[in-house]
Amino acid sequence: MIRGLYTSTSGMIAQQKRMDVITNNLANATTTGFKQDELITSSFEDMMVSRTVNDAAEDGTAEIGVINTGIHADEVSTSFKSGILEETGKTTDFAVEGEGFFVVNTPAGERYTRAGEWTVSSAGNLVTQEGYEVQGSQGAIRVGDTSFTVGRDGTVNTATGTDKIRLVTFNDLKGLRKEGNSLYTATGTATATEGGGQIRQKYLESSNVDLSKQVVDMIEVSRSYEINQRMIRMQDEKLGKSVNDVGKI
């Protein structure tokens, strides 16, 4: 009986976390290059349930099956489906068509991104909005001014020379972690390989959030939250009955 209380509570906690993830997706519905997350829940490990028997011939217990005691947040799965490419007409806007990530150099090391909303720094380099240098085949990409062109293969043609915007793909996208500022970092088994899809200048990749799915999920979360609450209340009432009313004449 008391076990049931905790099971229902674990359900409520897991739904709260799902709600947090859904809200973050909604907040990023218009963020360039954003990839939507989904919280995967899984049940706690099954437990054997036994009953006590009076039969002296047995060892005192008999297994009658399994139960599990609720669910927990297991993993956040990111959908790396491409967002729609939108034309912006700005020379410093880029999108990846197909697979691959842009490489930027942050103080903490190389990071990866799908958001190509860049600008030209005072030093004449192509940088992100935060000022991190976008990486080309020879490090920072020097463009000088905004009158440069970039081909689909990433070749940058400027007045002073050519460079190539780096794209990398990963063997294991599950190893990528979001770290804010629309950047990803590679962990564990994820290793970067040079190459990827095509680069489109004057385009941005819009967020891939599926708004209607988020809203439906939100309704589902809110309802299962309510059901779990009802279960807690019911078990509380049953407990109250057995504590206060059993044996009352």
Binding site: M19, I22, L26, A27, N28, V120, S122, S182, R233
Partner: protein, 258 residues
Amino acid sequence: MAQSLYTAAIGMKTQQSNIDTIANNIANINTTAFKKSRMNSKEAVYSPLTDPSGDAQDVNLQLGHGALLSGQSKSFEQGIPEETKQNLDVAIQGDGFFAIQTSDNTVEYTRNGNFSSKNVDGVNYLTSMDGNFVLDRNGQKIKCNFPIEQIKIDSNGKITNSKNENEEVATIGVFTFANTEGLKELGNLTYGTTPSSGEAVALADGETEVKQGFLEKSNADIAEEMTELMKAQRAYTFLSRAITTADEMKSIENDIRR
């Protein structure tokens, strides 16, 4: 739990700035030489979600905290030149800015070629609509000794007397910058240089095309702005819905025990 309330609130704030920017673009849909802006947003920080099973966190289990503004970008895309047949209206075809000198002697740059004239001590000067002097290629004020109605401006910006082709006055300066997007907005459709934009460089003959009798229209497009507005508004609505839901969930919590 309160997390989703804050995440949604931050998201709404970001969308609000987005809508403000779009509203400004729409308000200036008929403003000469107006350049549209766009708000850029980025993901906010991510923090780990705790996993009660106590497994080592080798799987992705982290929660984002909304979207933040990352900056505003301005599109210096050319607006369509519109014929006005006024001899003091000029539009720049392609890159470049006119330079004007304000009353406190600072130089500002603008694409607005809706010029006027001012008589100072018996001499006509070419000025902007607010009475600031338009500068020539060498950064000098443009003096005109003949009636202003006779001004003729060729495609290089050279001002001559339409009654006397040989009477040359000056050449209207058209300047470019290494990084146009680095210019800072000074209001009134004028821009100032910053370290990021670089210094103004005067364009020589043939590098620019100035059209007399034309004005550059705003580069904001109503259809595009409306689409952006609908997108922002939709996101805003869904976020407010998220706040309602998170609030309902709070009240469900409070109702656990009656």
